[in-house]
Protein backbone atom coordinates (compact mmCIF):
# COMPACT_ATOMS: atom_id res chain seq x y z
CA UNK A 1 0.00 0.00 0.00
CA UNK A 2 1.44 3.42 -0.88
CA UNK A 3 2.00 5.75 2.03
CA UNK A 4 -1.13 7.84 2.70
CA UNK A 5 -0.69 11.35 1.37
CA UNK A 6 -0.45 14.19 3.88
CA UNK A 7 -0.80 17.90 3.11
CA UNK A 8 2.76 19.00 2.44
CA UNK A 9 2.42 22.31 0.60
CA UNK A 10 0.48 25.50 1.12
CA UNK A 11 -0.76 25.51 -2.47
CA UNK A 12 -3.00 22.69 -3.65
CA UNK A 13 -4.39 21.65 -7.00
CA UNK A 14 -7.18 19.09 -6.78
CA UNK A 15 -7.32 17.00 -9.93
CA UNK A 16 -10.12 14.85 -11.29
CA UNK A 17 -8.40 11.54 -11.98
CA UNK A 18 -4.90 10.30 -12.67
CA UNK A 19 -4.44 11.80 -16.13
CA UNK A 20 -5.30 15.27 -14.94
CA UNK A 21 -3.09 14.73 -11.88
CA UNK A 22 -0.01 14.01 -14.01
CA UNK A 23 -0.87 16.79 -16.45
CA UNK A 24 -0.94 19.34 -13.60
CA UNK A 25 2.25 17.99 -12.03
CA UNK A 26 4.17 18.52 -15.27
CA UNK A 27 2.46 21.86 -15.90
CA UNK A 28 3.50 23.12 -12.45
CA UNK A 29 7.08 22.04 -13.08
CA UNK A 30 7.06 23.95 -16.36
CA UNK A 31 5.13 27.09 -15.43
CA UNK A 32 6.46 27.64 -11.91
CA UNK A 33 10.02 28.28 -10.86
CA UNK A 34 9.78 26.58 -7.48
CA UNK A 35 8.17 23.30 -6.46
CA UNK A 36 5.66 24.78 -4.07
CA UNK A 37 2.45 23.23 -5.37
CA UNK A 38 0.99 19.89 -4.28
CA UNK A 39 -1.30 18.17 -6.76
CA UNK A 40 -3.83 15.77 -5.26
CA UNK A 41 -6.14 13.37 -7.07
CA UNK A 42 -9.71 13.47 -5.75
CA UNK A 43 -10.84 10.61 -7.97
CA UNK A 44 -14.25 11.16 -9.54
CA UNK A 45 -16.54 14.14 -9.26
CA UNK A 46 -18.87 12.26 -6.94
CA UNK A 47 -16.03 12.03 -4.43
CA UNK A 48 -15.31 15.75 -4.34
CA UNK A 49 -17.69 16.76 -1.50
CA UNK A 50 -16.26 14.13 0.86
CA UNK A 51 -12.72 14.74 -0.39
CA UNK A 52 -12.98 18.43 0.48
CA UNK A 53 -14.46 17.57 3.87
CA UNK A 54 -11.57 15.17 4.49
CA UNK A 55 -9.10 17.79 3.38
CA UNK A 56 -10.39 20.36 5.86
CA UNK A 57 -9.97 17.78 8.63
CA UNK A 58 -6.36 16.99 7.76
CA UNK A 59 -3.25 18.06 9.57
CA UNK A 60 -1.81 21.32 8.15
CA UNK A 61 -4.98 22.29 6.30
CA UNK A 62 -4.93 25.53 8.28
CA UNK A 63 -1.62 26.37 6.56
CA UNK A 64 -3.07 26.05 3.04
CA UNK A 65 -3.37 29.42 1.32
CA UNK A 66 -4.40 28.47 -2.24
CA UNK A 67 -6.69 25.79 -3.62
CA UNK A 68 -7.37 25.20 -7.30
CA UNK A 69 -10.09 22.67 -8.07
CA UNK A 70 -10.32 21.26 -11.55
CA UNK A 71 -12.77 19.15 -13.49
CA UNK A 72 -14.14 18.74 -16.99
CA UNK A 73 -17.17 20.68 -18.16
CA UNK A 74 -18.34 17.50 -19.90
CA UNK A 75 -21.74 18.42 -21.32
CA UNK A 76 -22.52 21.44 -19.13
CA UNK A 77 -19.94 23.86 -17.74
CA UNK A 78 -22.51 25.67 -15.58
CA UNK A 79 -23.54 22.42 -13.93
CA UNK A 80 -19.85 21.61 -13.35
CA UNK A 81 -19.34 24.98 -11.65
CA UNK A 82 -22.39 24.43 -9.48
CA UNK A 83 -21.24 20.98 -8.45
CA UNK A 84 -17.91 22.35 -7.24
CA UNK A 85 -19.62 25.20 -5.42
CA UNK A 86 -21.92 22.69 -3.73
CA UNK A 87 -18.95 20.53 -2.78
CA UNK A 88 -17.25 23.51 -1.10
CA UNK A 89 -20.47 24.43 0.71
CA UNK A 90 -20.75 20.81 1.88
CA UNK A 91 -17.24 20.92 3.37
CA UNK A 92 -17.83 24.33 4.92
CA UNK A 93 -21.06 23.18 6.56
CA UNK A 94 -19.70 19.82 7.64
CA UNK A 95 -16.54 21.01 9.30
CA UNK A 96 -17.12 24.69 9.94
CA UNK A 97 -14.43 25.34 7.37
CA UNK A 98 -14.38 28.67 5.61
CA UNK A 99 -13.25 27.92 2.08
CA UNK A 100 -14.10 30.87 -0.19
CA UNK A 101 -16.41 29.96 -3.08
CA UNK A 102 -15.53 31.30 -6.54
CA UNK A 103 -18.37 32.49 -8.74
CA UNK A 104 -16.77 31.81 -12.12
CA UNK A 105 -14.08 29.55 -13.48
CA UNK A 106 -10.44 30.52 -14.05
CA UNK A 107 -10.71 33.41 -11.60
CA UNK A 108 -9.40 33.52 -8.03
CA UNK A 109 -11.58 34.60 -5.15
CA UNK A 110 -10.64 37.88 -3.55
CA UNK A 111 -12.13 37.55 -0.12
CA UNK A 112 -10.63 40.09 2.26
CA UNK A 113 -11.85 38.08 5.26
CA UNK A 114 -10.04 34.92 4.23
CA UNK A 115 -6.34 34.21 4.04
CA UNK A 116 -7.12 31.59 1.40
CA UNK A 117 -7.78 32.10 -2.28
CA UNK A 118 -9.61 29.56 -4.38
CA UNK A 119 -10.19 29.07 -8.08
CA UNK A 120 -11.64 26.36 -10.19
CA UNK A 121 -10.69 25.36 -13.67
CA UNK A 122 -13.48 23.94 -15.79
CA UNK A 123 -11.96 22.43 -18.91
CA UNK A 124 -11.52 22.97 -21.78
CA UNK A 125 -11.50 26.61 -20.67
CA UNK A 126 -13.40 29.72 -19.67
CA UNK A 127 -16.55 30.52 -21.62
CA UNK A 128 -16.60 27.04 -23.16
CA UNK A 129 -19.83 25.29 -22.29
CA UNK A 130 -18.74 21.72 -22.81
CA UNK A 131 -15.68 19.56 -23.24
CA UNK A 132 -12.74 18.13 -21.34
CA UNK A 133 -9.07 18.54 -20.62
CA UNK A 134 -8.38 16.33 -23.64
CA UNK A 135 -10.29 18.81 -25.78
CA UNK A 136 -7.99 21.55 -24.51
CA UNK A 137 -4.92 19.47 -25.39
CA UNK A 138 -6.24 18.78 -28.87
CA UNK A 139 -7.01 22.45 -29.40
CA UNK A 140 -3.31 23.21 -28.99
CA UNK A 141 -2.41 21.01 -31.98
CA UNK A 142 -5.16 22.16 -34.31
CA UNK A 143 -3.68 22.42 -37.76
CA UNK A 144 -1.28 19.55 -37.25
CA UNK A 145 -1.51 17.54 -40.49
CA UNK A 146 -1.54 14.31 -38.50
CA UNK A 147 -5.05 15.16 -37.23
CA UNK A 148 -6.41 14.68 -40.74
CA UNK A 149 -5.07 11.12 -40.72
CA UNK A 150 -6.55 10.56 -37.23
CA UNK A 151 -9.98 11.79 -38.39
CA UNK A 152 -9.80 9.59 -41.49
CA UNK A 153 -8.80 6.59 -39.38
CA UNK A 154 -11.64 7.08 -36.89
CA UNK A 155 -14.16 7.58 -39.71
CA UNK A 156 -12.90 4.36 -41.26
CA UNK A 157 -13.22 2.57 -37.92
CA UNK A 158 -16.83 3.75 -37.64
CA UNK A 159 -17.63 2.14 -40.98
CA UNK A 160 -16.35 -1.12 -39.49
CA UNK A 161 -18.82 -0.90 -36.63
CA UNK A 162 -16.73 0.79 -33.92
CA UNK A 163 -18.51 3.33 -31.70
CA UNK A 164 -16.77 6.21 -29.94
CA UNK A 165 -18.79 7.58 -27.03
CA UNK A 166 -15.65 9.42 -25.88
CA UNK A 167 -14.39 10.38 -29.32
CA UNK A 168 -12.07 13.10 -27.98
CA UNK A 169 -10.07 10.47 -26.11
CA UNK A 170 -9.86 8.21 -29.16
CA UNK A 171 -8.74 11.16 -31.21
CA UNK A 172 -6.14 12.27 -28.69
CA UNK A 173 -4.57 8.85 -28.19
CA UNK A 174 -4.62 8.11 -31.93
CA UNK A 175 -2.81 11.38 -32.38
CA UNK A 176 -0.17 10.47 -29.80
CA UNK A 177 0.20 6.99 -31.30
CA UNK A 178 0.87 8.57 -34.64
CA UNK A 179 3.98 10.24 -33.22
CA UNK A 180 6.69 7.67 -32.75
CA UNK A 181 8.17 9.26 -29.64
CA UNK A 182 4.85 9.37 -27.81
CA UNK A 183 3.29 5.95 -28.38
CA UNK A 184 1.50 5.00 -25.18
CA UNK A 185 1.96 8.42 -23.58
CA UNK A 186 -0.78 9.92 -21.46
CA UNK A 187 -1.60 13.62 -21.58
CA UNK A 188 0.74 14.47 -18.70
CA UNK A 189 3.84 12.96 -20.29
CA UNK A 190 2.82 14.61 -23.55
CA UNK A 191 2.76 17.95 -21.75
CA UNK A 192 6.23 17.30 -20.40
CA UNK A 193 7.39 16.47 -23.94
CA UNK A 194 5.78 19.68 -25.19
CA UNK A 195 3.48 17.87 -27.59
CA UNK A 196 0.97 20.46 -26.39
CA UNK A 197 2.85 23.74 -26.95
CA UNK A 198 2.94 25.12 -23.39
CA UNK A 199 2.74 28.71 -24.54
CA UNK A 200 -0.17 28.11 -26.87
CA UNK A 201 -2.91 30.72 -26.58
CA UNK A 202 -5.49 28.06 -25.64
CA UNK A 203 -3.44 27.20 -22.54
CA UNK A 204 -3.18 30.83 -21.39
CA UNK A 205 -6.03 30.79 -18.82
CA UNK A 206 -4.69 27.54 -17.37
CA UNK A 207 -1.14 28.86 -17.31
CA UNK A 208 -2.24 32.07 -15.60
CA UNK A 209 -4.06 30.17 -12.83
CA UNK A 210 -0.99 28.01 -12.22
CA UNK A 211 1.38 30.97 -12.19
CA UNK A 212 -0.81 33.06 -9.91
CA UNK A 213 -1.19 30.38 -7.24
Amino acid sequence: MPRPEPIEKEKLILAEGRDAYHFFCHACNFYREVEDVQVMNFGGNDELPNFLSDLTNMDKFDEVNTIVISRDAETDADAAIMSIQDAIKHANNKNSANIPIPQESFKYTNNQKSSMKVAFMIFPGPKLKKGTLEHLCLSTVEGDPLLECVDDYLECAKTKGERFPRAHKNKLYCFLSGKDDFIGSRIGLAFKAKVWPPDHLALEPFKRIIQEM
Binding site: N50, L55, N57
Partner: protein, 358 residues
Protein backbone atom coordinates in the same frame (compact mmCIF):
# COMPACT_ATOMS: atom_id res chain seq x y z
CA UNK B 1 -24.44 5.95 24.72
CA UNK B 2 -22.27 9.07 24.87
CA UNK B 3 -23.00 11.42 21.99
CA UNK B 4 -21.42 14.75 22.94
CA UNK B 5 -18.39 15.61 25.02
CA UNK B 6 -17.00 18.78 26.54
CA UNK B 7 -13.76 18.55 28.50
CA UNK B 8 -12.10 21.54 30.16
CA UNK B 9 -8.84 21.86 32.03
CA UNK B 10 -8.19 18.11 32.06
CA UNK B 11 -4.62 16.98 31.34
CA UNK B 12 -3.68 18.29 27.86
CA UNK B 13 -7.13 19.74 27.16
CA UNK B 14 -7.79 23.38 27.89
CA UNK B 15 -11.13 23.03 26.23
CA UNK B 16 -12.18 20.24 23.91
CA UNK B 17 -15.55 19.72 22.27
CA UNK B 18 -16.26 16.38 20.62
CA UNK B 19 -19.67 16.22 18.98
CA UNK B 20 -21.64 13.38 17.41
CA UNK B 21 -19.93 10.31 18.79
CA UNK B 22 -21.29 7.08 17.37
CA UNK B 23 -21.87 3.60 18.65
CA UNK B 24 -18.37 2.92 17.34
CA UNK B 25 -16.00 5.85 17.59
CA UNK B 26 -12.40 5.53 16.50
CA UNK B 27 -10.03 8.21 17.76
CA UNK B 28 -6.73 8.99 16.09
CA UNK B 29 -4.09 11.70 16.08
CA UNK B 30 -0.38 12.25 16.53
CA UNK B 31 1.56 11.14 19.61
CA UNK B 32 0.85 13.08 22.77
CA UNK B 33 -2.24 14.77 21.39
CA UNK B 34 -4.50 13.30 24.07
CA UNK B 35 -6.15 10.18 22.64
CA UNK B 36 -5.81 8.20 25.85
CA UNK B 37 -6.44 11.32 27.93
CA UNK B 38 -9.80 11.73 26.19
CA UNK B 39 -10.77 8.17 27.20
CA UNK B 40 -9.61 8.96 30.74
CA UNK B 41 -11.71 12.13 30.82
CA UNK B 42 -14.80 10.16 29.86
CA UNK B 43 -14.02 7.50 32.45
CA UNK B 44 -13.50 10.14 35.12
CA UNK B 45 -17.22 10.84 34.96
CA UNK B 46 -18.32 7.26 34.41
CA UNK B 47 -16.17 5.91 37.24
CA UNK B 48 -16.38 8.84 39.67
CA UNK B 49 -17.67 6.71 42.56
CA UNK B 50 -14.43 4.75 42.52
CA UNK B 51 -11.94 6.32 44.97
CA UNK B 52 -8.98 5.02 43.02
CA UNK B 53 -10.20 6.04 39.60
CA UNK B 54 -7.48 8.68 39.27
CA UNK B 55 -4.77 6.43 40.65
CA UNK B 56 -5.91 3.74 38.22
CA UNK B 57 -5.22 6.18 35.40
CA UNK B 58 -1.63 6.44 36.56
CA UNK B 59 -1.37 2.70 37.03
CA UNK B 60 -2.52 2.05 33.45
CA UNK B 61 0.23 4.39 32.34
CA UNK B 62 2.82 2.40 34.28
CA UNK B 63 3.07 4.55 37.42
CA UNK B 64 2.50 2.09 40.24
CA UNK B 65 3.77 4.17 43.14
CA UNK B 66 3.11 7.77 43.83
CA UNK B 67 4.31 10.27 46.39
CA UNK B 68 1.65 11.33 48.85
CA UNK B 69 1.49 15.02 48.05
CA UNK B 70 -1.30 17.07 46.62
CA UNK B 71 0.82 17.86 43.62
CA UNK B 72 1.70 14.25 42.88
CA UNK B 73 -1.71 12.73 43.43
CA UNK B 74 -4.10 15.21 41.90
CA UNK B 75 -1.88 17.63 39.98
CA UNK B 76 -1.41 15.47 36.84
CA UNK B 77 -5.10 15.40 36.01
CA UNK B 78 -5.31 19.20 35.85
CA UNK B 79 -4.25 20.98 32.68
CA UNK B 80 -0.72 22.27 33.22
CA UNK B 81 -0.98 21.13 36.88
CA UNK B 82 -3.18 24.18 37.39
CA UNK B 83 -4.57 23.13 40.73
CA UNK B 84 -6.50 26.35 41.19
CA UNK B 85 -8.48 25.58 38.08
CA UNK B 86 -11.50 23.37 37.78
CA UNK B 87 -11.86 20.29 35.62
CA UNK B 88 -15.14 19.97 33.77
CA UNK B 89 -16.30 16.83 32.01
CA UNK B 90 -19.71 17.24 30.47
CA UNK B 91 -21.28 14.38 28.56
CA UNK B 92 -24.57 13.78 26.85
CA UNK B 93 -25.44 10.19 27.73
CA UNK B 94 -28.54 8.63 26.20
CA UNK B 95 -29.74 12.12 25.36
CA UNK B 96 -29.31 13.47 28.89
CA UNK B 97 -26.66 15.97 29.96
CA UNK B 98 -24.46 14.95 32.88
CA UNK B 99 -21.35 16.62 34.14
CA UNK B 100 -18.71 16.54 36.81
CA UNK B 101 -16.47 19.30 37.99
CA UNK B 102 -13.33 18.50 39.94
CA UNK B 103 -11.59 21.03 42.16
CA UNK B 104 -9.20 21.00 45.10
CA UNK B 105 -10.53 21.29 48.59
CA UNK B 106 -7.67 21.83 51.05
CA UNK B 107 -9.90 22.40 54.05
CA UNK B 108 -11.82 19.19 53.72
CA UNK B 109 -11.85 17.04 56.87
CA UNK B 110 -13.97 13.93 56.59
CA UNK B 111 -15.94 12.63 59.53
CA UNK B 112 -15.00 8.96 59.87
CA UNK B 113 -18.59 7.86 59.76
CA UNK B 114 -18.94 9.22 56.28
CA UNK B 115 -16.47 6.84 54.76
CA UNK B 116 -18.36 4.68 52.32
CA UNK B 117 -15.90 2.91 50.15
CA UNK B 118 -12.27 1.93 50.13
CA UNK B 119 -9.98 0.16 47.73
CA UNK B 120 -6.47 -1.16 47.92
CA UNK B 121 -3.78 0.88 46.24
CA UNK B 122 -0.11 0.98 46.94
CA UNK B 123 1.19 4.43 47.77
CA UNK B 124 4.50 5.41 49.24
CA UNK B 125 4.40 8.02 51.99
CA UNK B 126 7.69 9.82 52.14
CA UNK B 127 6.42 13.39 52.16
CA UNK B 128 4.19 15.71 54.12
CA UNK B 129 0.73 14.60 55.08
CA UNK B 130 -2.18 16.87 54.43
CA UNK B 131 -5.79 16.37 53.64
CA UNK B 132 -5.41 15.54 50.00
CA UNK B 133 -8.92 15.97 48.77
CA UNK B 134 -10.52 16.87 45.50
CA UNK B 135 -14.14 17.79 45.42
CA UNK B 136 -16.15 16.17 42.67
CA UNK B 137 -19.44 17.83 41.95
CA UNK B 138 -21.79 15.75 39.85
CA UNK B 139 -24.71 17.40 38.14
CA UNK B 140 -27.45 15.06 37.00
CA UNK B 141 -29.85 15.72 34.15
CA UNK B 142 -32.39 16.98 36.69
CA UNK B 143 -29.92 19.66 37.73
CA UNK B 144 -29.47 18.04 41.14
CA UNK B 145 -25.92 18.32 42.41
CA UNK B 146 -24.12 15.65 44.38
CA UNK B 147 -20.73 16.28 45.91
CA UNK B 148 -18.16 13.56 46.47
CA UNK B 149 -14.75 14.00 48.02
CA UNK B 150 -11.89 11.82 46.85
CA UNK B 151 -9.13 12.05 49.38
CA UNK B 152 -6.16 10.30 50.90
CA UNK B 153 -6.77 10.01 54.59
CA UNK B 154 -3.61 10.81 56.62
CA UNK B 155 -4.72 8.23 59.14
CA UNK B 156 -5.17 5.55 56.55
CA UNK B 157 -2.42 6.36 54.14
CA UNK B 158 -2.55 3.36 51.87
CA UNK B 159 -6.18 3.72 50.95
CA UNK B 160 -7.65 6.56 48.96
CA UNK B 161 -11.19 7.07 50.03
CA UNK B 162 -14.34 8.58 48.68
CA UNK B 163 -16.91 10.17 50.92
CA UNK B 164 -20.19 11.79 50.19
CA UNK B 165 -22.91 13.68 51.96
CA UNK B 166 -25.26 11.79 49.71
CA UNK B 167 -25.60 8.08 49.25
CA UNK B 168 -23.50 7.22 46.22
CA UNK B 169 -26.39 5.12 44.99
CA UNK B 170 -28.14 8.38 44.16
CA UNK B 171 -25.61 8.78 41.38
CA UNK B 172 -26.92 6.87 38.38
CA UNK B 173 -24.60 4.05 37.48
CA UNK B 174 -23.64 3.97 33.84
CA UNK B 175 -22.05 0.64 33.03
CA UNK B 176 -18.60 1.24 31.62
CA UNK B 177 -15.29 -0.56 31.17
CA UNK B 178 -11.82 0.82 30.50
CA UNK B 179 -9.56 -1.62 28.69
CA UNK B 180 -6.00 -0.33 28.71
CA UNK B 181 -3.39 -0.68 25.99
CA UNK B 182 -0.22 -1.55 27.86
CA UNK B 183 -1.49 -3.22 31.01
CA UNK B 184 -2.85 -6.71 30.98
CA UNK B 185 -6.50 -6.77 31.83
CA UNK B 186 -7.21 -8.25 35.23
CA UNK B 187 -7.61 -12.01 34.59
CA UNK B 188 -9.76 -12.40 37.69
CA UNK B 189 -12.12 -9.66 36.57
CA UNK B 190 -12.37 -11.16 33.09
CA UNK B 191 -13.08 -14.57 34.66
CA UNK B 192 -15.86 -13.01 36.74
CA UNK B 193 -17.45 -11.44 33.70
CA UNK B 194 -17.05 -14.61 31.67
CA UNK B 195 -18.61 -16.57 34.50
CA UNK B 196 -21.64 -14.31 34.24
CA UNK B 197 -21.80 -15.13 30.54
CA UNK B 198 -21.43 -18.86 31.23
CA UNK B 199 -24.27 -18.77 33.74
CA UNK B 200 -26.48 -17.62 30.91
CA UNK B 201 -25.15 -20.43 28.73
CA UNK B 202 -23.77 -17.90 26.28
CA UNK B 203 -20.06 -18.65 26.43
CA UNK B 204 -20.16 -19.73 22.78
CA UNK B 205 -20.56 -16.09 21.79
CA UNK B 206 -17.08 -15.46 23.14
CA UNK B 207 -15.74 -18.65 21.56
CA UNK B 208 -17.00 -17.68 18.12
CA UNK B 209 -15.50 -14.24 18.43
CA UNK B 210 -12.09 -15.58 19.46
CA UNK B 211 -12.15 -18.08 16.58
CA UNK B 212 -11.55 -15.12 14.27
CA UNK B 213 -7.95 -15.19 15.41
CA UNK B 214 -7.69 -18.79 16.66
CA UNK B 215 -9.78 -21.14 14.50
CA UNK B 216 -8.59 -24.13 16.57
CA UNK B 217 -10.40 -22.87 19.67
CA UNK B 218 -13.07 -25.37 20.70
CA UNK B 219 -14.29 -24.05 24.01
CA UNK B 220 -13.68 -21.67 26.91
CA UNK B 221 -13.91 -22.67 30.56
CA UNK B 222 -13.36 -21.12 33.97
CA UNK B 223 -10.60 -23.03 35.75
CA UNK B 224 -9.95 -22.43 39.43
CA UNK B 225 -6.47 -23.07 40.76
CA UNK B 226 -6.07 -22.17 44.42
CA UNK B 227 -7.61 -18.76 45.00
CA UNK B 228 -7.41 -17.79 41.34
CA UNK B 229 -9.94 -18.28 38.60
CA UNK B 230 -8.81 -17.95 35.02
CA UNK B 231 -10.49 -18.33 31.66
CA UNK B 232 -8.90 -21.25 29.83
CA UNK B 233 -9.26 -22.21 26.22
CA UNK B 234 -9.30 -25.71 24.74
CA UNK B 235 -7.57 -25.95 21.38
CA UNK B 236 -8.25 -28.72 18.89
CA UNK B 237 -5.71 -31.57 19.11
CA UNK B 238 -4.45 -30.47 22.55
CA UNK B 239 -5.22 -32.71 25.49
CA UNK B 240 -5.65 -29.99 28.10
CA UNK B 241 -6.75 -26.40 28.37
CA UNK B 242 -4.49 -23.34 28.46
CA UNK B 243 -5.03 -20.00 30.17
CA UNK B 244 -6.12 -17.49 27.54
CA UNK B 245 -3.33 -15.19 28.69
CA UNK B 246 -0.84 -17.79 27.45
CA UNK B 247 -2.36 -17.76 23.99
CA UNK B 248 -1.14 -14.28 23.18
CA UNK B 249 -1.95 -10.63 23.59
CA UNK B 250 -4.56 -10.66 20.84
CA UNK B 251 -6.59 -13.47 22.42
CA UNK B 252 -6.43 -11.83 25.82
CA UNK B 253 -7.52 -8.49 24.40
CA UNK B 254 -10.40 -9.89 22.39
CA UNK B 255 -11.65 -11.95 25.30
CA UNK B 256 -11.70 -8.88 27.55
CA UNK B 257 -13.51 -6.95 24.85
CA UNK B 258 -16.15 -9.52 24.01
CA UNK B 259 -17.02 -10.37 27.60
CA UNK B 260 -17.28 -6.66 28.38
CA UNK B 261 -19.83 -6.33 25.59
CA UNK B 262 -21.78 -9.53 26.08
CA UNK B 263 -21.91 -10.14 29.83
CA UNK B 264 -24.21 -7.19 30.48
CA UNK B 265 -25.86 -4.90 27.93
CA UNK B 266 -25.92 -1.11 27.63
CA UNK B 267 -22.24 -0.73 28.48
CA UNK B 268 -19.78 1.94 27.35
CA UNK B 269 -16.40 0.42 26.55
CA UNK B 270 -13.29 2.55 26.35
CA UNK B 271 -10.43 0.68 24.69
CA UNK B 272 -6.96 2.10 24.18
CA UNK B 273 -5.16 1.14 20.95
CA UNK B 274 -7.51 -1.48 19.58
CA UNK B 275 -5.06 -2.83 17.00
CA UNK B 276 -2.33 -3.81 19.47
CA UNK B 277 -1.60 -7.52 19.34
CA UNK B 278 -3.85 -8.14 16.33
CA UNK B 279 -2.68 -9.11 12.85
CA UNK B 280 -3.91 -6.70 10.17
CA UNK B 281 -5.46 -9.46 8.07
CA UNK B 282 -8.12 -10.35 10.66
CA UNK B 283 -9.02 -6.77 11.57
CA UNK B 284 -11.96 -6.45 9.12
CA UNK B 285 -13.58 -9.59 10.53
CA UNK B 286 -13.02 -8.37 14.06
CA UNK B 287 -14.68 -5.04 13.26
CA UNK B 288 -17.59 -6.81 11.60
CA UNK B 289 -18.13 -9.11 14.58
CA UNK B 290 -17.64 -6.27 17.04
CA UNK B 291 -20.17 -4.12 15.22
CA UNK B 292 -22.80 -6.86 15.37
CA UNK B 293 -22.12 -7.57 19.06
CA UNK B 294 -22.23 -3.89 20.00
CA UNK B 295 -25.58 -3.49 18.29
CA UNK B 296 -26.99 -6.68 19.75
CA UNK B 297 -26.12 -5.66 23.31
CA UNK B 298 -26.68 -1.95 22.80
CA UNK B 299 -23.10 -1.15 23.79
CA UNK B 300 -20.83 1.65 22.67
CA UNK B 301 -17.14 1.32 21.85
CA UNK B 302 -14.84 4.33 21.96
CA UNK B 303 -11.33 3.33 21.01
CA UNK B 304 -8.03 4.76 19.80
CA UNK B 305 -5.64 3.80 17.04
CA UNK B 306 -2.48 4.86 15.27
CA UNK B 307 -2.98 2.45 12.42
CA UNK B 308 -4.20 3.24 8.91
CA UNK B 309 -4.78 -0.47 8.37
CA UNK B 310 -7.06 -0.46 11.38
CA UNK B 311 -9.02 2.46 9.93
CA UNK B 312 -9.30 0.68 6.56
CA UNK B 313 -10.40 -2.50 8.32
CA UNK B 314 -13.06 -0.62 10.30
CA UNK B 315 -14.41 0.83 7.07
CA UNK B 316 -14.47 -2.59 5.45
CA UNK B 317 -15.86 -4.48 8.43
CA UNK B 318 -18.60 -1.97 9.27
CA UNK B 319 -20.00 -1.67 5.75
CA UNK B 320 -23.41 -2.87 6.93
CA UNK B 321 -23.68 -0.33 9.73
CA UNK B 322 -22.13 2.87 8.36
CA UNK B 323 -24.41 5.13 10.39
CA UNK B 324 -22.91 3.75 13.61
CA UNK B 325 -19.34 4.72 12.76
CA UNK B 326 -17.51 7.93 13.62
CA UNK B 327 -13.87 8.81 13.24
CA UNK B 328 -12.25 11.56 15.25
CA UNK B 329 -8.80 12.97 14.64
CA UNK B 330 -7.44 14.98 17.53
CA UNK B 331 -5.63 17.95 16.10
CA UNK B 332 -3.13 20.15 17.88
CA UNK B 333 -2.35 23.71 16.87
CA UNK B 334 -0.07 25.58 19.26
CA UNK B 335 -1.41 24.53 22.66
CA UNK B 336 -5.03 24.07 21.59
CA UNK B 337 -6.39 20.62 20.80
CA UNK B 338 -9.51 20.22 18.71
CA UNK B 339 -11.49 17.27 17.37
CA UNK B 340 -12.01 16.75 13.64
CA UNK B 341 -15.01 14.57 12.95
CA UNK B 342 -15.52 12.27 9.96
CA UNK B 343 -18.35 9.93 9.11
CA UNK B 344 -18.24 6.59 7.32
CA UNK B 345 -18.52 8.02 3.80
CA UNK B 346 -15.80 10.60 4.37
CA UNK B 347 -13.45 7.89 5.56
CA UNK B 348 -14.36 5.83 2.50
CA UNK B 349 -13.28 8.66 0.24
CA UNK B 350 -10.14 9.27 2.29
CA UNK B 351 -9.14 5.62 1.94
CA UNK B 352 -10.00 5.50 -1.76
CA UNK B 353 -7.92 8.60 -2.47
CA UNK B 354 -5.22 7.57 0.01
CA UNK B 355 -5.42 10.69 2.18
CA UNK B 356 -3.46 10.85 5.41
CA UNK B 357 -6.29 11.45 7.84
CA UNK B 358 -4.62 10.21 11.02
Amino acid sequence: MITDVLVKNFKCFKSLIVPELGRITLISGRNNVGKTALLEALFLLLDMRNPVTVLNQYSRRGIKQITLTTEAIWGPIFCDYAKDGEILVSLTINGNPEQVTVRFNREFAPPPSMTVQTEEQQISTDEELTTLAVEIEYTAKSGEKIILYHFCDPNNQSRPTVVSKTKPSKIPLQLASFLPSKEHNQPGEIAKQFSNLAQQDRENEAVEFLRIIEPRLESLKIITEGPNSLVHGKLKDLTRTLPINFMGEGMEKLLALIVAITHSPNRIILLDEIENGLHYSILPKIWEALGKALRKYNCQLITTTHSYECLQAAHEGLSEMPEDFRYIRLHQKDDEISAKLSNYDMIGTAIKTNLEVR
